[in-house]
Symmetry: C2
Subunit: 206 residues, 2 copies
């Protein structure tokens, strides 16, 4: 019965993700996305329930890019691999991080990700509430750290402007902040994240 669908949900997904990657979250609207696809805004509603569903689509698109590793037997290696893989793809789409943090999605890609992390954590002997706590700690760490790192006004690795602004604030009140401001530029973002992960992993291993 259908007169042939002109697009696909997957097409909307990649187009929306590309648009957000290039122009930021604020540039994603029904009209702009429809324009990039060469159609009107209302056409999109055949593939998406509402605007919120479009956001979920973008989140799902990012989560789908996470390459979940094979089970290696060593749970610590697996957890590290999952977390680092997540961080790598999230780092490729920094504009989407607020969405990933905020939008709750029950799509299978997100569920697969959660289940994989849970499976690895369960192999440390945890179950029930302990497993829940470990899961939330790790997943909260990934997104929280990534967001903190990529939106921290005091430590934007590329922007020297804000570093100068950090140096400008009263040194008697915020000595540690000033000390920190320079440290981020020295260490790379990758090493920085891995060092944070070391802390969490040490806590999990105890």
């Amino acid at each position: 019965m259908p007169p042939k669908a002109k697009f696909t949900r997957a097409q909307l997904q990649t187009a929306a993700l590309a648009l957000v990657d290039r122009d930021g979250l604020g540039a994603l609207s029904m009209r702009t996305l429809a324009a990039t696809l060469g159609t009107g805004p209302m056409t999109l509603y055949n593939y998406v329930r509402d605007r919120g569903d479009l956001d979920a689509l973008v989140v799902e698109g990012v989560m789908a890019e996470v390459k979940l590793p094979r089970d290696s037997g060593e749970w610590q290696r697996d957890v590290r691999a999952i977390v680092e893989a997540t961080w790598r793809t999230v780092r490729c789409h920094p504009n989407v991080i607020p969405l990933v943090l905020t939008r709750r999605t029950l799509h299978e890609t997100t569920l697969d990700w959660a289940e994989a992390l849970l499976r690895a954590l369960a192999r440390s002997g945890r179950s029930g509430v302990d497993l829940l706590v470990a899961f939330r700690t790790v997943s909260g760490f990934v997104m929280g750290f990534a967001q903190a790192q990529l939106s921290d006004p005091l430590t934007p690795d590329e922007d020297q402007q804000d570093v100068a602004r950090a140096q400008a604030l009263p040194a008697d009140r915020f000595p540690r902040l000033i000390e920190i401001a320079g440290a981020a530029a020295k260490l790379g973002a990758d090493k920085e994240f891995r060092a944070g992960l070391d802390i969490v992993m040490a806590g999990l291993a105890r």
Copy 2:
């Protein structure tokens, strides 16, 4: 010269925060806030640069409610106290969490908070990049965990609807997720958060 200011930034702040607490983030707009204050939208621009500044004002209002503890000499006790105090106030304003995660602010309340956490962490012997990593790990954990806990579709402590939805998903593909779904209801949110903090603290203490 001024014809008597009708309002204050602080008044906008408390009104906006109350509005967000009651009706959610989406209910905060220039017009709705102006309406609660009994005036027009444009009046607000005398106290706020633009809409983004209003968001920052709300974030700042929440951060100001965090009661930072006195230095006790034991850095672990201080870090715990700061983190738990943060979580307590954030828990009172769950709708603001996405904003706190997203909006970067350089206001003194946020800077005071950061400096206090840095001071406590520095007393563990860390400095430079180690201090930076520890800071981001802890601060990322707080917000990431809180957001994960309060917006997780699988474990909303009060809403039995979503728990049922979790039980409905295929048990052969997501066994751990189903196991977890029930665990959140058993443990309270407080205990859950504190258990997560235990993990991070153990990692910091190593």
